[in-house]
């Protein structure tokens, strides 16, 4: 029976369960009971992988997942003494951070592991899935040896233990952190047929800590202070500096993340949080803040995290992650293969801006030629992931009326007035015609180099993202370009 079921479903994925099934068959009595249980297990797992498989098996006898008691319903579950720190269901083992060797500066200790945005729910990233970036490996700081030194242009320099730092009045804020290289591999063309890698260099969490301005009230900031250096205690002594404006506004030192201590990958026990600005500024494993009248020129604000423009000049101290959005469902990882003409489906996505609060999200079905306004839903917070939604009836063959395949493009706007550019608007600094680009291709001097970011910036790419849905309901990453 088992074999037949497996064959009729023709699901190779079921094989991954075979260990468990065979193990159940192994026992030498009440064989028929175990066979049934095994069969239920196989179908239950299969149905998750391919929902359409349910229909075939349900036709005559009824769906085994319904017709039989599942094994977890007829035996003891785990005692409360198991997993005193909870872990996800073992069936969720594919919902993980992922990395690629192409994003490593040589090895996985100067690299990034990105968040499975396609599996994200709501606006909070679980701590274990929060994207992880380091320049010298994840440090494991002993909180008893943690010290925070604040010196430079303050009236009273200070050194604090972790408990002393936590004595300051705390605030809790929900903010995303985004690596400014999110999408940065795709200036010239789409490279990842994956939402996780195209947009997963970011996560969003509820942070608890203290405003730096609160501590400065205690220490007294000298009037000539313009810049603050933040240094980590990790292997790379990661350092960045930022203007005093931000320090006196909403910059925080945080130790709490989604209701618990920061994870080591997030800078345990304390990191800097610079709401909305480059994730790289949010220095982890923090050890020191220093105030100065002149800029610092740390490594990560000169050799990296600078954006080279067509003029040959590069932007330095490029702070805010600009307004951005993406369709999350569907995505290359979560296609529409199981949907057919006439089905109504929710298109869902995320929008975010490091410059303010999301006010509008528009959705296009033709790659950005025509837009409708989508619905923002849930909490709408500054410098925070914001969910949006649009109900849609699947057309025949996933095609628009003009016979072309659907291309889903989202475009967000924030309360600072910023709107996402098209791919070419960001690259060329505005709308360009085919004639203009073709002339420029023949003669480079015909292009205005003072406009646009070009394609060598690496960082801060926030042009609209597009998914093309093919006739099978598969979803592929595309870019709409003029030429």
């Amino acid at each position: 029976m088992l074999k037949n079921l497996k064959n009729s479903l023709n699901l190779s994925k079921v094989d991954k369960n075979s260990n468990e099934i065979e193990q159940l068959e192994d026992t030498n009595s009440r064989r028929s009971f175990f066979k049934k249980t095994g069969a239920v297990g196989a179908v239950a797992a299969a149905s998750v992988i391919a929902p359409s498989a349910i229909k075939a098996s349900a036709a005559g006898e009824g769906d085994p997942a319904i017709m039989h008691h599942p094994k977890w319903g007829q035996s003891w579950g785990d005692p409360v003494s198991k997993n005193v720190y909870g872990i996800p269901s073992k069936y969720e083992h594919n919902n993980v951070r992922r990395y690629t060797e192409l994003l490593a500066s040589g090895n996985e200790r100067a690299s990034i592991a990105v968040t499975p945005i396609h599996e994200s729910e709501g606006i909070i990233t679980p701590n274990g899935l929060f994207f992880s970036r380091c320049h010298g490996g994840t440090a494991h700081v002993d909180p008893n040896e943690f010290r925070l030194m604040i010196n430079g242009l303050v009236n009273k320099p200070i050194v604090l233990t972790l408990d002393q730092l936590k004595r300051y009045p705390r605030v809790t804020r929900t903010h995303f952190i985004e690596c400014p290289a999110n999408g940065g591999q795709e200036w010239r063309r789409p490279q990842y047929n994956s939402l996780q890698f195209a947009k997963g260099f970011m996560s969003c969490a509820e942070w608890t800590g203290v405003y730096i301005k609160t501590i400065l009230e205690d220490l007294g900031l000298k009037p000539e202070a313009k810049w603050m250096l933040a240094e980590g205690s990790d292997n790379s002594e990661m350092g960045r500096s930022l203007p005093i404006d931000k320090v006196l506004d909403d910059a925080m030192l945080v130790w709490g993340q989604n209701g618990e201590a920061l994870r080591p990958e997030q800078g345990y026990p304390v990191r800097l949080l610079v709401p909305g600005w480059e994730g790289n500024l949010c220095v982890k494993w923090l050890k020191r803040l220093e105030f100065s009248d002149e800029p610092y020129y740390a490594k990560e604000e000169t050799s990296k995290y600078t954006a080279l423009k067509p003029t040959g000049k590069a932007l330095q101290h490029f702070y805010a992650n600009e307004v951005n959005s993406t369709v999350v469902s569907p995505s290359p990882e979560k296609p529409w293969r199981d949907l057919k003409e006439g089905d109504t489906v929710e298109i869902e996505g995320l929008a975010w801006s490091g410059m303010g609060t999301i006010t509008k999200v528009d959705l296009s079905f033709d790659g950005g030629n025509n837009y409708v306004e989508a619905n923002i839903k849930g909490l709408v917070l500054p410098k925070c992931w914001t969910r949006w939604s649009y109900m849609y009836k699947i057309p025949k063959g996933f095609k628009n009326k003009d016979g072309k395949q659907i291309i889903l493009t989202s475009r967000a706007m924030d309360d600072a007035g910023f709107i996402q550019p098209t791919v070419d608007q960001e690259v060329f600094g505005g709308d360009v015609t085919k004639e203009y680009l073709e002339a420029a291709l023949k003669d480079n001097s015909k292009i205005d180099k003072t406009k646009g970011m070009g394609v060598e910036s690496v960082y801060h790419r926030n042009a609209v993202e597009s998914w093309e849905v093919n006739e099978k309901g598969e979803v592929n990453h595309v870019q709409i370009r003029t030429v």
Partner: protein
Amino acid sequence: MFKSELYKSTLKAAAISGLAITLSGSLYAEETAYNGLWNAKKDISGGLYYPIKDGATGPYKVNTQVYKDSDVSKGQSGIKAIYNNGRVPNDAELKAWDKDIDGLNRGLPEGSGYVDEGEAIYEAQCIMCHGDFGSGGGGYPALSAGKAKEIKRTLNNNRWLNPTAEGPQRVFGSYWPVPSTMWWYIRDAMPHTKSKTLTDDEVYSLTAYMLYINGMKVDGEIVTEDFRLDKEKFMKIEMPNRNGFVPDIDGEKGLENVRDFYADPSNYGAIRLNNPQERCMSNCQETDNILRVDGGITDFHPPMSVARDLPVVKEDAAHKVTFDAKGAYETAGCTMCHGSFAPAAGDKAAWEPYMEKGLSKVYQNGIEGTQMGMPAKGGSSLSDAEFKKVVDFMLKF
């Protein structure tokens, strides 16, 4: 300074530097056209900030005992509390940690080193990652691409018209604006496997070697093999791309320049509208030219999958897990019964009646459960093989 004077003082400093004109001018005075709700205002990054007003910042309420209205632009502050957390660091502690070297080379210690000494250290400790003469390789950053001044010209190689053309080379000599960054980073972050182990003289010699392999000049002279770098000469290192960055962050007007720069969206490829109604909703662009992922990057670890199945257990030598039967007995719930009304582990007399039908029957009863109240596998999630090991442990007399 009185603590409550904090922001006022900051603002006063700003006024001296000419910043006050900006603050009292359009930048901060201007409310956004259609917000108003949260009293959001423009900030130094071109975005908005949400000052604490009427007991809230944006959507967040604040404790008004701590935070009164505080608007950076108006120099307001309301905090009256005096904290007495921590202590003042002593000189030895400051000396140990305050070691950064800024763009003006403030913080650079005395010391010196020769190019050939740097080369010897490089070949012993750096070459395995950064390659011959800093050429990079294996994904590790290149430190040189040839003569700095010539390589700097490649910064104009923007591949926006021809994606397959030769791109820009951003290495120390061609790109970095100041040399202090290199000295600072070598000392604190290198070698990657054992950072902070080089002496100041070794860092000088490695920096001298960096200047050498990048064909750079110090005080008008090309750095040669016999060059010796010290603090005095360090001040005269010529960085070809010193003026290659915008906005100008140095000096009195540094922050003002940043503020002005990001107030203009065209400086950074952004589009700002005065009103959302201005945005294009129809016939916005031609969409015929679709660029698809051509091969692309698929080297994902773990491999991409959205299946909700059971993980494949790796059973090679590296992943072999030895099963702890005693630990399982103690933690999987066995002791709830065994040791009270059911026979405990090692209690030979108590087990004897259960052993009459042989070990295989004990296994079977345990795995399947019994009418007497033994739940299948004791209610645990152990595999059969693991469960049998627990039984074996319990029957060790």
